[in-house]
């Protein structure tokens, strides 16, 4: 069962929503920020679903009007029809309110969509033929007006004397009467609707005098209604054997609704909108099916009934009838429009119209105002993709980025005198900027200061990476930068594997000490030789640093191949023991398509709780403007670039300037 359905504009306004159970708004917010903004799909989802807490979210976009349709349901349930529902609701909503939305500039509009939605939802639930359909009570949250209506029926025990109900129920009620005499039975369920029917029919259905059954019914007085009720339960129950597994067994109505599923698709939506109670809905459902049956038996009275109600009585009923056709009509139209668009594209409908259309399309290519389709953008997109590949962006990343740019463009209109190429280029620039822009603060100095002030412990940074990418070099660059800011730094030599690693760091430490003596920084090397367990050394180094009052601990680790499971597994223990504030991964700007996998594997190596905190992209000076590795690594993981290595000296460390990087990539 659906928990929540929302229609949201890109500007964040909830245009319409229907909730069947309370769902925190943070659930949808995280969908929006993770999937739509940061474009990080959950593993295995392929961008089709999103899980948060115990919910599964599915969505569909209407890019041309800037709408997002989101359905939220419990992950435990496997609702196979959600996609279809989303699609249908999208078509309906866009057809009904599309124009309004376009003129309202993405803010609030008035929409009375409840009935349409209920109808669609019901039809899908019935088609699915699963368990009982609509959730009780909450259903009417969005619909206070109808709430009042349904209130009278909400309690099953109040069946004895409900007032005649104008509106929706009348049809059902009267039709129901036809059936009752045929199947006398005993049912213990109190049935509010049946009580209503006599009075309702008498007052409202009277014009349909030729219908014998109706006359019978109206002749019935409330005193006898119990019989009616009795007959009601079984008639529907008998046809609902298939659904014996019903969880809501005491409420027969549930069964009825199931029968309704087979008989009629749109029947009870109007009631649904009106009802505040499950039971009532279900009754109506059962009745509506009866309605159908009757129609076959006695078409005449049915027809008359419709007429009279349409003109004479409550809006509710009329609307209900209307709605079935309306929804069908809207969907048909939407589909037709889609189809005709497709055929237009494929075959020339007529020579003249084809020529005119072609000429207009050709002009629009220059003048602008062309609505983009996938075919239009294909050429430009593949051009941009080649460009990205030439900039050393990994193929996997390039393909995905191009795909998302393309989907974002479809349905958009080109500006005046804007070629598709320039539009695609702009969109690509935007996408790259979005990818590279960090979501958290990367000011290392401030963080160190805050940790020192608040917790009085050293700030721990550890550096990981593949062999030979420049871990120790970048570590000493960072160390130099910290020393310049008069911090006390401890370097921990946790590469206990490669011979010469410790000595290398010792040389760095000695150089840095000399360089920074005048500045006032203090640097020390913590080493335990070779062959020891790196995680333990790191832990000892951190505790040594806190007793000695160091500000920062920089931990160097052994280089490891990212696809070597044995070496990578030790990182988890390392992260747990040393518990670094920042784990930075060094990646070469030189690496090509392997960058994506490197970043992913290292990001996953620290266990479930821990992720990488940033990248250092080294050797940027050697690649010129081919800085695609930046994009590949950040795109694969969503982790920001903290530093760039741009040369051989201690001073050749830079922070990332997004504008600069995007400029290089698009040049």
């Amino acid at each position: 069962m659906l928990d929540l359905f929302e229609v949201i504009t890109t500007s964040g306004v909830v245009l319409w929503s229907k909730s069947y159970a309370p769902v925190k708004s943070s659930v949808i917010n995280s969908l929006i920020s993770d999937v739509f903004i940061e474009e990080r799909n959950q593993p295995g989802s392929d961008g089709k679903w999103f899980k948060k807490d115990s919910y599964t979210l599915k969505w569909t976009l209407a890019a041309d009007v800037g709408l997002v349709f989101v359905a939220v349901y419990q992950s435990l349930l496997h609702l196979t029809w959600i996609d279809e529902l989303l699609d249908q609701v999208k078509k309906l909503f866009v057809a009904l309110y599309g124009e309004k939305i376009k003129t309202s500039a993405g803010t609030r509009i008035q929409c009375h969509f409840d009935q349409y939605f209920e109808a669609s939802l019901r039809s899908f639930e019935r088609k699915a033929g699963g368990t009982a359909t609509i959730r009780p009570a909450n259903a009417s949250i969005e619909d206070p007006s109808s709430d009042g209506n349904g209130g009278g029926f909400s309690d099953g025990d109040e069946w004895s004397a409900p007032p005649p109900m104008p509106g929706v129920n009348n049809t059902r009620a009267s039709n129901y009467q036809h059936q009752t005499p045929e199947t006398p039975y005993s049912s213990e369920k109190p049935n509010p609707l049946i009580e209503v029917t006599p009075s309702a029919t008498s007052s409202l259905v009277s014009p349909a005098t030729m219908a014998q059954a109706l006359l019978q019914a109206s002749g019935r007085r409330p005193g006898r209604s119990r019989k009616n009720r009795k007959s009601a339960g079984p008639s529907s129950a008998s046809s609902a054997h298939a659904s014996s597994g019903e969880e809501r067994s005491p409420a027969r109505p549930g069964n009825k609704s199931k029968r309704g599923k087979e008989m009629r698709i749109w029947g009870e939506d109007g009631i649904a909108a009106d009802a505040s109670d499950d039971r009532k809905l279900d009754y109506s459902a059962g009745i509506s099916t009866d309605d159908e049956q009757d129609e076959s038996l006695r078409p005449k009275p049915e027809a008359i009934d419709q007429d009279t109600w349409g003109t004479r009585t409550s809006k509710g009923d009329f609307l209900l009838k209307d709605l079935d056709y309306e929804i069908d009509g809207i969907l048909k139209q939407a589909n037709k429009a889609e189809n005709s668009e497709e055929t237009n594209k494929k075959g020339p409908g007529g020579l003249a119209s084809g020529l005119v259309g072609g000429a207009m399309g050709y002009l629009r290519n220059f003048v602008g105002g062309k609505t983009l389709t996938k075919e239009d953008t294909d050429k430009a997109i593949s051009g941009v993709m080649t460009h990205l590949l030439e900039k050393n962006v990994a193929r996997e990343a390039a393909v995905q980025i191009c795909d998302s740019v393309q989907t974002s463009l479809i349905g958009q209109k080109t500006g005046s005198f804007q070629s598709i190429e320039s539009l695609v280029k702009l969109a690509m620039e935007d996408a790259l900027r979005k990818i590279l822009t960090p979501t958290t603060s990367l000011d290392l100095l401030r963080e160190i200061g805050q940790v020192r002030e608040a917790e009085e412990r050293p700030y721990v940074i550890s550096i990981v990476g593949v062999n030979g990418v420049g871990k120790s070099t970048n570590l000493s660059k960072i160390c130099f930068f910290l020393l310049q800011n008069k911090l006390k730094v401890l370097i921990a030599a946790c590469d206990t594997f490669r011979s010469g690693a410790v000595e290398q760091l010792r040389v760095h430490a000695r150089n840095l000490k000399e360089l920074s003596e005048r500045e006032g920084g203090v640097v020390e090397l913590y080493e335990k030789g070779y062959g020891k367990d790196a995680a333990n050394i790191a832990k000892d180094a951190v505790s040594y640093a806190s007793t000695q009052g160091f500000d920062v601990v920089l931990i160097d680790t052994a280089g490891r191949r990212h696809n070597d499971q044995r070496l990578m597994s030790s990182l988890e223990k390392f992260a747990k023991f040393a518990n670094p504030d920042k784990i930075l991964m060094v990646g070469e700007a030189l690496v090509g398509s392997d960058s994506v996998q490197q970043a992913r594997n290292f990001n996953a190596a620290f266990g479930k709780e821990r992720k990488l905190d940033g990248f250092i992209i080294s050797k940027c000076d050697t690649v010129g403007d081919m800085v695609g590795t930046l994009i590949s690594m950040v795109f694969a993981t969503g982790i920001p670039v903290v530093f760039l290595g741009v040369g051989q000296n201690y001073t050749d460390l830079r922070t990332l300037n997004v504008k600069w990087a995007v400029g290089l990539l698009m040049s």
């Binding site: 005198f417 958290t440 760039l644």
Partner: protein, 281 residues
């Protein structure tokens, strides 16, 4: 006299120059017209008040409140929205007081997600786009944690820097330029954990000062010095000291005021009167 070749089109004799001229006219006129129209529409809406701030602070809610006078549910925005309002929207819901001016103004609501903050920044630094005031909406109930203060202050720092740049550009072209007003709207003060506006003001000033200090000490940006992009080495406010105060920023073109309020409980009068003042100025 040379005889020009003539063609016969639909029975009328047409000489070559006339044919060429008319063809050129057919091609060029729509292009010129289109350009003119395009440039006319490019200037964008006038009298824009910009809404910015971290996400979940209530920017879109505030906008909708001004529009509809009720609380309307919102989710994280992914795109900016520009809405045309009349000054009447700024007067309290019950009063029927006709505003001094009936000229419409616009509100531009920008997304607060870190990756989308460039929308607001770009609008401000673009001197051709109108921006008569900026409202920085923040959530005063979450500022008790350092991480949220940092986040809030960081965005504010970027905004202030952008406003400073806009002011610098504008004052180059005009002789006298008024400082651009910025309101820090401390939303959600109906919540129990909300901090008072003066406290928030002080917190932000300290945090901005610290930010300025670490930015000065920090590493150079990649690409600095390669192309003379002046916004790489710009500092907020006074170059000589790291201290940032609201008074000190006035000199650099930002007039900051801080006011509490709550969209949820409808206490937005302080903000609306600030906006009215903005429009009158």
């Amino acid at each position: 006299m040379t005889i020009l070749p003539t063609f016969e089109i639909l029975g009328f004799p047409v000489s070559l120059p006339i044919l060429i001229i008319s063809l050129l006219a057919v091609v060029i006129i729509p292009i010129v017209l289109g350009r003119l129209l395009a440039s006319g529409s490019k200037s964008g809406p006038s009298s824009v008040i910009l809404f910015a701030g971290p996400r979940d602070a209530g920017k879109t809610s505030l906008l909708l409140y001004l529009q509809e006078k009720t609380l309307i549910p919102t989710q994280t925005s992914t795109a900016p929205a520009t809405v045309k309002l009349f000054p009447l929207a700024l007067s309290p819901a019950d009063s029927q007081d006709e505003g001094s001016s009936t000229k419409p103004f616009h509100i531009k609501d920008t997304p607060g997600h870190p990756k989308l903050r460039s929308t607001a920044i770009d609008t401000i630094v673009q001197p051709t786009e109108s921006c008569i005031g900026v409202i920085y909406v923040l959530d005063s109930a979450v500022l008790s944690t350092q991480a949220r203060i940092t986040d809030t202050a960081e965005y504010l720092y970027e905004l202030l820097l952008a406003i400073q740049k806009r002011y610098a550009i504008l004052s180059e072209s005009a002789t006298s330029t008024e400082p651009i007003p910025l309101l820090i709207a401390c939303n959600k003060n109906d919540l129990f954990t909300a901090l008072p506006s003066t406290k928030i003001g002080n917190l932000l000033q300290t945090e901005l000062s610290r930010m300025k200090e670490t930015k000065r000490k920090g590493l150079l940006n990649a690409g600095a010095g390669e192309n003379d992009d002046e916004d790489l080495d710009r500092v907020l406010g006074d170059e000589t000291s790291d201290k940032i105060t609201w008074e000190g920023l006035k000199e650099f073109g930002v007039e900051v005021s801080v006011q509490s309020g709550s969209v949820k409980s409808g206490t937005v009068d302080g903000w609306t009167s600030w906006m009215s003042a903005c429009l009158d100025a």
